[in-house]
C-alpha cells in the first residue's frame, strides 16, 4: 500500500485522535476548498513565486545588483545578458528586481506581523469591555485613521530618519487602525454568543475569553484584510522609496528603482516600468489570494 492514500485517510478521519490531527484535517478541507477557486490559486502561485525568488535570489540573479558598469548604461530589454535591460548606472534590472524581492518581503513580512497583532489586540479589548475602554481606544484609532497613511508615514520617517527599519516602523504604525476596527466589529458580534456566555459562566477571566475565544473568531477577517492590505503596504513602501525617505540607494528596492527611472521614462521606459510591473504583479497576487481566502475562512460559510 502506498503512503499517499494513508495520509489522506488520516486527514479525513471523521474521528481524529488528537488535537493536532483535528486541526490538520480542517486545514486540509480548507485547502480543498481554496483549490477550487482558480483565481485564488493564481494569486497563491504568485505569492509562492515571490517567496521562491526571494529565497533563491543569489542563485537566480544573473548579475550583481549593485555592480555598476557605466559602459553598459540604459540598454534596452532583450540585450543579451540583460533580459530586462540596464539602468542609468549599468546595473542589470532583472537582478535588481530579483534581489529587491527580498526587501519587499522583508517589509511586508514585518508589517504583516506587527500591525495586525496590534490592531487585533486593541480591537478585541475595546469590543469586549465596551464602556470607556472602548471609547478611549476607538478615539485613539480614529486619530490614527484620520491621517492619510503616506503623510503619516512620511512624518514618522522624517522624525526617525530614513532607512528601511524606520520605513517599516512607520508603515506598521499607520497600518494597524483598520485591523482594530475590523477586530472590534467582530468582537461586538461574538460577544453576545451563547458560547461566550457559557465560558463566562464557567468562571473564565477576560484574558482567557479574549485570547482563547474572541481572537480565533476575528482571525479570518484579519487574515483576509492582511492579504488585501499587502498591496497597499508595497505601494506605500514604494512611495516612501520614491520620495527618497525609505530605503536608501543603492539598495534595489522597487519603489526606489521607479523613482530613479523617472528621469528616463519616455526614452528608456524600462528602467521605471519593469519594477512597476513587479509591484503590480505582486499586489495582484495578494489581492487574488485575499479574495479566495475570504471564501474559505469566512466562518459563515464554514461549518454548515
Amino acid at each position: 500500500m502506498t503512503t499517499a492514500p494513508t495520509w489522506r485517510a488520516w486527514l479525513t478521519d471523521p474521528n481524529p485522535s488528537s488535537r493536532r490531527q483535528a486541526r490538520l484535517g480542517q486545514a486540509w478541507l480548507a485547502w480543498l476548498r481554496i483549490r477550487r477557486n482558480t483565481l485564488a490559486m493564481a494569486g497563491l502561485v504568485i505569492v509562492l513565486l515571490l517567496l521562491l525568488v526571494a529565497a533563491l535570489a543569489p542563485v537566480l540573479a544573473p548579475h550583481d545588483p549593485l555592480m555598476q558598469d557605466l559602459s553598459r548604461r540604459l540598454l534596452p530589454p532583450g540585450t543579451p545578458g540583460n533580459l530586462l535591460g540596464t539602468d542609468d548606472f549599468g546595473r542589470d534590472i532583472l537582478s535588481r528586481i530579483i534581489w529587491g524581492s527580498r526587501i519587499t518581503l522583508y517589509i511586508i513580512g514585518l508589517v504583516a506581523v506587527t500591525a495586525p497583532l496590534l490592531g487585533l489586540l486593541i480591537g478585541t479589548v475595546a469590543g469586549y469591555f465596551g464602556g470607556w475602554v472602548d471609547t478611549v481606544l476607538m478615539r485613539l484609532t480614529d486619530i490614527f485613521l484620520a491621517f492619510p497613511r503616506l503623510i503619516l508615514a512620511l512624518a514618522l520617517v522624517a522624525v526617525l530618519g530614513p532607512g528601511i527599519e524606520n520605513a517599516v516602523l512607520a508603515i506598521a504604525l499607520t497600518a494597524w487602525p483598520p485591523y482594530a476596527r475590523v477586530a472590534r466589529a467582530e468582537t461586538l458580534t461574538v460577544r453576545n454568543s451563547d458560547y461566550i456566555a457559557a465560558i463566562r459562566l464557567q468562571g473564565a477571566g477576560a484574558a482567557r475569553i479574549i485570547l482563547g475565544h474572541v481572537v480565533p473568531m476575528c482571525l479570518p477577517s484579519v487574515i483576509i484584510r492582511v492579504t488585501l492590505d499587502m498591496a497597499g503596504v508595497i505601494l506605500i513602501a514604494a512611495g516612501l522609496g520614491f520620495l527618497g525617505l525609505g530605503v536608501q540607494p543603492p539598495l534595489p528596492e522597487w519603489g526606489l528603482m521607479i523613482s530613479s527611472g523617472r528621469k528616463f521614462l519616455f526614452e528608456q521606459w524600462w528602467v521605471a516600468t519593469m519594477p512597476g510591473l513587479a509591484i503590480f504583479i505582486v499586489s495582484l497576487g495578494f489581492n487574488l489570494l485575499g479574495d479566495g481566502l475570504r471564501d474559505v475562512l469566512d466562518p459563515r460559510s464554514a461549518g454548515k
Binding site: 479525513t12 478541507l29 480543498l32 476548498r33 483549490r35 477550487r36
Partner: protein, 280 residues
C-alpha cells in the same frame, strides 16, 4: 382530479469538495387542489423538495427529475424566464421566519406592491388597493398603518401574515409553505394556520405544507408524506395517521411527549431497521 403538480423521481444533489451529497433521492408525488403535508426531520430533504418545484436551488446543487409538471407545463425544461413568470404568480412560497424572508429595508407597502407594479404593470393606486385588501384578508386590523411599517417593527405573527398576504396577492394556484408557523408562538400559530386554512380553501389552491411537526400537519392537511434522508417512507391520508405502518412514522408519533402522559422515558426512535441504513 387533474394533477396540479406531478413529480416523478426527483433528485437533488450537491457537489461539495468532499463528494456528492444526495439531499433528495428519488421522490415522486402528485398534487391536485388539495393540501399535502411533507413531514420530516432535519436532513430529510423536505425543504429541498419544496425548493425544487420552484427551481430555487443554486449550484453546487442540481435538480434532476424524470418528470416535473405544473399544470401541464414542464418545469424541468422551462428556462429561467419562464420560471420567473411562474414564481409568485402561479406558485407562491411562504417561508419560516419573516425576519429573514421580508426585506428589512423596504416597508411593507413597497414589498407588497413591488411584484404587482413591476411584473404585472399595475398602477400605483390599484396596486395599493390590492395590497390593503390582501392585508385585510389575513385579518390585519389596521392595514394602512401596517403598510408604512418596516418588518422589524412587526411581531412574528404579524410578519408571517404579511408574508402570506404578499404571496397571495398574485393569486397563485399552488402555495408552498415551508415551516410557516415554526418561528411563531403557540397561540399565534393557531391563528395564522386558521387564516391560511381559510384562504387556501376559499381560493381552491393547492398547498404543500412542509413541517417537522407531525401532529400539526396531520391536523391541517389532507394527505401526509413522511420523508427520511431524502426518500419518502410513507404516504398516508391525514386521518389515518395513527394507523401508519412504517416504523419511522410510528416512532415519530410515539416519541413526542404528551401533556398528562406517563413519566417514563419517552420511546426513542429505533434506528436499527434497514430503512435507516441506506444512504445512496
Amino acid at each position: 382530479m387533474t394533477a396540479l403538480l406531478d413529480v416523478q423521481n426527483l433528485r437533488v444533489t450537491f457537489d461539495t469538495e468532499t463528494g456528492p451529497v444526495h439531499a433528495v433521492r428519488g421522490v415522486s408525488f402528485s398534487l391536485g387542489r388539495e393540501r399535502l403535508g411533507i413531514v420530516g426531520e432535519s436532513g430529510s430533504g423536505k425543504t429541498m423538495t419544496g425548493r425544487s418545484v420552484l427551481r430555487l436551488i443554486r449550484p453546487p446543487g442540481r435538480i434532476e427529475a424524470d418528470r416535473m409538471l405544473f399544470d401541464g407545463q414542464d418545469l424541468m425544461a422551462a428556462g429561467e424566464r419562464e420560471m420567473r413568470a411562474l414564481r409568485g404568480k402561479r406558485i407562491g412560497m411562504v417561508m419560516q421566519d419573516p425576519k429573514y424572508s421580508l426585506n428589512p429595508v423596504m416597508n411593507v407597502g413597497e414589498q407588497l406592491t413591488e411584484g404587482l407594479r413591476r411584473r404585472d404593470r399595475i398602477g400605483r393606486a390599484e396596486a395599493r388597493d390590492k395590497a390593503i385588501a390582501a392585508l385585510e384578508a389575513v385579518q390585519i386590523r389596521s392595514p394602512e398603518r401596517v403598510m408604512t411599517a418596516f418588518p422589524h417593527e412587526l411581531s412574528g405573527g404579524m410578519g408571517q401574515r404579511v408574508m402570506i398576504a404578499m404571496m397571495l396577492i398574485p393569486e397563485p394556484d399552488l402555495l408552498i409553505a415551508d415551516e410557516p408557523t415554526s418561528a411563531l408562538d403557540v397561540t399565534v400559530q393557531a391563528e395564522v394556520l386558521s387564516i391560511l386554512d381559510r384562504l387556501v380553501r376559499d381560493r381552491g389552491m393547492g398547498l404543500i405544507f412542509i413541517s417537522h411537526d407531525l401532529r400539526l400537519v396531520s391536523r391541517f392537511c389532507d394527505r401526509v408524506l413522511v420523508m427520511f434522508k431524502g426518500k419518502i417512507v410513507e404516504e398516508v391520508a391525514a386521518k389515518n395517521l395513527l394507523q401508519a405502518k412504517h416504523p419511522y412514522t410510528q416512532g415519530l408519533l410515539n416519541c413526542l411527549p404528551r401533556i398528562g402522559g406517563p413519566r417514563e422515558p419517552l420511546p426513542s426512535l429505533d434506528r436499527s431497521g434497514d430503512w435507516a441504513k441506506e444512504t445512496a
